[in-house]
Symmetry: C3
């Protein structure tokens, strides 16, 4: 039960970084060596390697944030994550397998809020120095049609 | 608290069957004698009997899955459930009354993800051989306009 | 843990009042002196005072419900709240600071369900006579475009 609560907190903090635009905190929720991948459901199910975003270390996550901060071609937007069905699927030697459903709502300036992306997190979570972190985070999204562009982490 | 956690798990497993397309597992979450009903909010509130889906035993749920598997007229789609506000409303001799809000997002091929259906689960949950199961599950949905068709369980 | 559970229950009851149209119960979830504010994200972040709804006591919340009951110019609608990421951010002398993401889906008669409003609750929760209540509830919403009209509490 306590573990489930801790997992909830990890996801809540993850979402908070992204929705509050506090992107610099986002890589800190991953282990030094990690895998972060945003991939369409179809590719995932067929075992195709193509991913929209692929980062293989915390350094790469930081680079991504840096790049986002330096770029200004993207229209300002507000993201709002909803998470449901967080489940600890298994405890394995290399960490917990955790899954959850997610939806991201997006609001562009002067436009109504819309469903931007929805799918499933398939994650591996480990404990480092007493705190839970993501060792693997796969964001498997349902629609290959991405409204606007998928530039911010999911 | 432990009970609340168990209830959460039941709903999470329910959703996982549906969203992963593992429909054969879905009837196993109900008791042998059960009631599964998908009904528009207006009909429910006025006490009108008309339902979009009505199954009165686990056998009927299995038949429904069989029928879905044999039919191929429906465009492939991905469903994604979000659940919120799970509440144990009462403990009664014939089970717990549990309610929750739900939203189902749907993704058709080559289309963006959209809100497909939203509403409220009004359920009765009992323990059978140590495991929680649905004895009654009413899916009371808000819009009488069902985009596409409501063929998969909600 | 127990506290987190109690907080969950407060939010669940809050949502239930609104989604079931049981508006008279809604002010009872606030303290006698309270602040309820619905404000666009931009105004909140810039410290601008403009709010779509502003109530500064339980009496004002009751007045608002009264006014809604007497008015019949609004098309009937069903609201459906989804809440995610409830977090107790801090325990302070004047209460707990609690935050959560929310989305409100709206269904007008004969129309499909749509995303109506999404944003973040930034709340202060206190215990009064053994029960948790809202002393402050800020609903900070993402889109300045409000489809239809925002007349019901968020």
């Amino acid at each position: 039960m306590d573990l489930r609560f801790e997992v909830d907190e990890l996801y809540a903090e993850y979402i908070e970084c992204l929705d509050d635009g506090d992107l610099e905190r986002w890589p800190e929720l991953f282990t030094e060596e990690c895998l972060y991948k945003v991939v369409p459901r179809e590719n995932f199910e067929r075992g195709l390697p193509l991913a929209l975003i692929l980062c293989e270390s915390r350094g790469m996550l930081r680079d991504r944030v840096e790049a986002l901060r330096r770029t200004s071609v993207y229209a300002p937007r507000t993201l709002r994550h909803l998470i449901s069905n967080i489940r600890i699927k298994a405890q394995e030697p290399d960490g917990m397998r955790v899954q959850a459903n997610y939806a991201v709502l997006q609001t562009l300036n002067d436009e109504p809020t819309q469903v931007f992306n929805a799918g499933k997190y398939v994650d591996r979570v480990v404990r480092v120095a007493g705190r839970l972190k993501f060792k693997e985070k796969l964001c498997i999204f349902d629609s290959i049609v991405v409204p606007g562009s998928l530039v911010y982490p999911i």
